[in-house]
Symmetry: C3
Subunit: 285 residues, 3 copies
């Protein structure tokens, strides 16, 4: 898999303005976001949702996960520690969400070489998630059958996943968010959006990406479509991280400051700080 | 369910003084507190117990949970992520605790609409917990069969649970602690105690209430009865939170500062800062 | 079990210099460290590994745990919350690690009185871990069949485990690390090393010892033998903690500052701050 050639982009002030509005809408609605996620990051995921203004519910038990997904405003399914009961809950929740029209996000953590989660993620992908979010290795492994990285590290670059992601929106998923130094997002109409906010510190803590998946689910409850949700969540999450990193002394102090920043980020901060650009949608570039 | 009419209260300096003494007693004893609790908050619960001066033990495995509950100084059973093995451990531990006289606390997280945990919480209630702790929706759902809230959010007000709680102490449980902007506690003799300490930030982090349940179990090991334990834990927990909120920039920085405050809170701080009042116990008001 | 008589020690500048070099080597390699560990400390363990410069992977699911242990650079197996699936994953991973030559660390949390984890730890010990790490009660309970402490607290002193540990290196394990106010380490040739760094605050948070086990696994991937890995991890972990404690207001603020310190600790900091001494290896003293 070779990196795609650089593609010219133009700033996207409309997406930024829309993100600012969606942040306000999210806080006004306080959406109930169900998370079937790995045990490593449950706590930080719940705290990120709370800081954002959403209401987390870690309902990941058989026979509860499905019915709850019907009434939740959004759902995250993350394959990080796919124990038997969590796998059942994941499939149950995703099935119910698709059936009930609850927007849901699939985060295929460490999919590729590891057999249990790879089979699970494929089963979940067939249920047509609203948004697929992962790093480039994970997205490629799931959509293209590539071998995947060695865990949550991305050995592939976000751009490596660009064509595969563009070919998959509409067919498998509503939108795709690929994390990296610059996040690459593909919206339902095939538009490629790049978000250049963020900080290297996000790679030095556990759960940064996993919590972003939950944020996408939260924004999906107020957004008009999957693409808007993915863009808004990515901008808010990475911008808050970028601002927090300025006040942090390292990966430890970064984490509480990041939650404070998420909680206090204003629509004006978004308008001032977001670095969002789009490529022209010109076929299978 | 309608809110009860306001009831006149009088300050309760004796309960405050007693709380200050119990804080010292807890630190002198360093009680061993077993927690069968949800995976989202295990870490923060252990850290709250350690900051308080107790010794946490997250023994939640079948065939270990029961025997351990016989030797522990207190037990918390929380229904937040009721996986199959955790359910067995919860029932095993509660049964052994009741049999051995180990004080134990039931925290029926998100009981009401969710079937697995609701059935579990009813089974646990029948084992007669020393203290029942939850928000008003959870307490009503468990004691009164009300539909419950939409998760850990309380849609009911603490006062809504007042009569049901008063009717239940002695019959089902030793004491009841209902969390809210003002916490409402019902002691074994039916006295209603209100604790007005706390901070809104506690609702913006995960695990604030769950960790309070563990604190009640810790105080139960040194208190003369269930009511004292519930009052002391609530005062210490919410007062430390209130003081921490003054020094925090948001829900992220609040959490480490809260643990520091719990660790350094003095009996004098309790006497100076506690806002505790009682209603007269005058029958089924 | 009586404490051994004090034994004269001499400063070990070579071990300190070697630790400084290994810290650089670890950061250069970014080893992939698999953790099959308890749910209470998964998050802090992953963050400690990341701060150190390693890459954590919490692969603790049946049929994934074994194959992953063959490709990982190091493995930690911790018995803290030994649920059924985690037990299977632990045995699977340890078996594969021993077979493939992946260095691995056994942390027998709360082994002794609790039957499930004690049986599990004995089964794991028979698979010959590279390093055994625990407090004195746990190490004695596992190696000597002593009754053990009442949980993660050490009721025995590190020196109590000295002779048993010396008798066990080579037979059961490559090296042994016993935590305490002064950490006692026994290297493969029977040398007893004492590390006097650390802070009392490490006993007031959950996961300090568990994360150290993961750090040993990370250093084992770059060290020449089990003893070096145990010494280097202990020095780096306890020195970073000691430095962090100076800037922390209590057990809450200690935790983020500790991660920052781990991330920024330099080889020079190690040379300046490490307090390492060895006893002469003179038979069964």
């Amino acid at each position: 898999m070779h990196a795609a050639a650089p593609v010219p982009t133009t700033a996207a002030p409309d997406l930024v303005r829309r993100t600012a509005d969606l942040l306000e809408a999210l806080r006004a609605r306080a959406p109930l976001v169900q998370c079937v996620t790995n045990t490593v990051v449950q706590n930080v995921t719940a705290n990120v949702l709370l800081a954002l203004g959403a209401s987390p519910a870690m309902v990941d038990v058989r026979t509860e996960a499905g019915p709850f997904a019907r009434v939740a405003d959004g759902l995250l399914v993350n394959t990080g520690t796919p124990h038997e009961e969590a796998r059942d809950a994941a499939v149950e929740a995703a099935t119910a969400a698709t059936d009930a029209g609850t927007p849901w996000v699939l985060d295929p953590v460490a999919v590729g070489a590891l057999p249990v989660r790879t089979a699970l993620a494929r089963e979940l992908l067939a249920l047509r998630p609203t948004v697929l979010r992962g790093n480039a290795s994970e997205v490629l492994a799931l959509l293209d059958g590539a071998a995947g990285g060695r865990g949550t590290d991305a050995t592939a670059d976000a751009d490596d996943a660009r064509s595969v992601a563009r070919a998959s929106v509409g067919r498998h998923v509503g939108a795709i968010a690929v994390s990296g130094p610059v996040d690459l997002l593909v919206t339902p109409d095939g538009t490629v959006v790049r978000v250049a906010n963020g900080t290297e510190v996000l790679t030095r803590i556990t759960g940064g990406g996993c919590a972003l998946g939950a944020a996408v689910a939260a924004f999906a409850s107020v957004a008009a479509d999957a693409g808007e949700a993915a863009v808004a969540a990515t901008v808010v999450h990475t911008l808050a991280a970028e601002l927090a990193a300025r006040d942090a002394g390292g990966p430890g102090t970064f984490q509480p400051v990041f939650l404070d920043r998420l909680a206090t980020l204003t629509p004006d901060d978004v308008v001032r700080g977001a670095r969002v650009a789009t490529e022209a949608s010109d076929g299978d570039r």
